[in-house]
Symmetry: C2
Subunit: 317 residues, 2 copies
């Protein structure tokens, strides 16, 4: 299975890498695979979410033992995620995500590491794709085998097992007699995700008479490849002027799907929040000089048309 790990071409095995290890079978298999692949500069990172009392503490002890066994450094942190969710009035999922990435960022800073390896696999991917599709975020899109986040400091997230199924991981665990924590829940596995895995997917499989996961993943790969090609193509058209404003005569030459995407990419690059299809359609009207010349965005900003350019202005300008 080692040879099926996906490493992006930019991956440098010589750098220090963080590995997220919950103690569950996925991350236990990941850690073992990485060590067997000859990666030595690993730092095990384990966050105790304090969601399951003694069980959570047991997970932490177990991961410490793993670190000892593989002779790798370990960083742990403990955070009452459900309290945080209540205090901040955000979902448990969001609170856990926020806490986790802050933790990873602090580990990265401490060890001068800039990449984090996570144990998401093909079944996680199919579930994520369906989840995103049904909640209307990002169309048909799952996780990337390699992605970057700047939100908590520069961090590249690698998911080398994204092409490997849960079944294959189980086989690997058995073959190598790896111990793991049975119920050690991946911190992302809250109610909705668990129900997609345990109820929706099995029902879909039964109805279709075959496992739909491969099809879902294949369709996503195609959609993502198309979108990414279109994004590169838009990039190559140089639609921004030297001051980084959208140049109207260039925008007006774009076909509709590209035009929408170009506006979306521009707003996203400038960290405009609460973007959705309706907002993009509103902004689209600015391309027509006979229409209104500004559209409200979130946080008191607006997108403005002036002198054949579109650009973002704060309301107080």
């Amino acid at each position: 299975m080692i040879e099926r790990l996906q490493w992006p071409s930019a991956f440098e095995a010589s750098e220090f890498s963080l590995v997220g290890v919950s103690g569950g079978r996925d991350s236990v298999a990941l850690l073992d695979l990485l060590v067997r692949s000859g990666l030595n500069n690993l730092i095990i990172c384990h966050l105790n979410h304090q969601l399951r009392g003694n069980e959570s503490d047991g997970d932490e002890d177990f991961v410490r033992q793993l670190a000892n066994q593989y002779q790798l450094p370990i960083e742990t942190s403990s955070m009452p995620v459900s309290q945080l969710a209540q205090q901040e009035k955000i979902s448990l999922e969001l609170a856990a995500r926020h806490t986790r990435y802050q933790f990873f960022a602090s580990c990265a800073a401490k060890h001068g590491a800039n990449q984090l390896i996570l144990g998401h696999h093909a079944d996680d991917q199919a579930e994520t794709i369906l989840y995103n599709l049904m909640r209307g975020s990002a169309g048909l899109r799952g996780m990337s085998a390699s992605s970057s986040t700047q939100q908590y400091g520069e961090l590249t997230i690698l998911r080398p097992m994204l092409d490997i199924s849960r079944e294959e991981i189980d086989q690997y665990i058995k073959k190598h007699h790896l111990p793991y924590r049975e119920d050690s829940s991946n911190a992302e596995d809250f109610a909705v995700r668990n129900r997609i895995r345990n109820e929706l997917m099995p029902l879909a499989k039964e109805i279709m008479g075959r496992d739909p996961r491969r099809s879902i993943i294949r369709a996503e790969s195609m959609a993502v490849a198309n979108q990414s090609w279109i994004d590169q193509h838009i990039q190559s058209l140089e639609i921004e002027d030297p001051q980084g404003r959208l140049f109207l005569p260039k925008l007006q030459q774009l076909d509709l799907p590209l035009l929408k995407r170009a506006i979306y990419l521009y707003l996203k690059k400038h960290q405009v929040a609460e973007l959705n299809a309706k907002k993009i359609d509103e902004c689209l009207q600015l391309v027509d000089p006979s229409q209104a010349s500004k559209v409200n965005l979130s946080k008191g900003q607006f997108l403005r048309r002036k002198e054949k350019r579109l650009f973002i202005q704060a309301s107080t300008d």
Copy 2:
């Protein structure tokens, strides 16, 4: 609701149009909407699939009454679809589809009509998208508001209600006190489709805490718009030589997603059957002159590289 019917720009209301009417609420609402929209040149087409005995005959009688009431011509045909499926050893769905389109084609020929209006709505669309996604056909793709088929003679299929929900149709039926046949199953609604509608969608809605249909439809529109833009772009690159063969130096300039798609479109245009991602990947190797110069296709054909061209040859050539 009339104003929300989607008519493609090429739609000519003056031509004779066939309308598929099963007698169920969707097609009853469709027919009423069309008549209220001022369309007079309609021909009602009803196929009795003989799947539900007396019930099926009752549906036919009911649709005859509708035709009488609206004073429109009607064409009916009766075909034992399940017998056909057994004889031809094909699925009930495929048999019904085949029979239906043959019937529509014969109606079209008889009346000199070249368009067929069907009652598929937004809920059907969301279900079709999920169905196609899960069975791995065509990625994220549902039905088109306007599509053409040459398989049974030239026929344009229009689905003007594709943006209207089942709930809106129910409201319309109630408001206008339209009678309909309760269980008159749309001929496409066999076990799998029914289970997606009656089990999978409700479970997805419950898990997500919101109706996922709109999100699914929106994601599909985006994916289809992207794909169709890419297809047009490929078209504009003139990758075929005057003899209709793929010109290798042009192919070699394409980025991977476009190259794959270009090969797929070429094979599809030449009616090559049994196309899948694996076959396209095989054909891809022909673009590299250091690789083998032919790839087997279905039905004894192969794709061949010769003199900087790719083209299809029969094995006996």
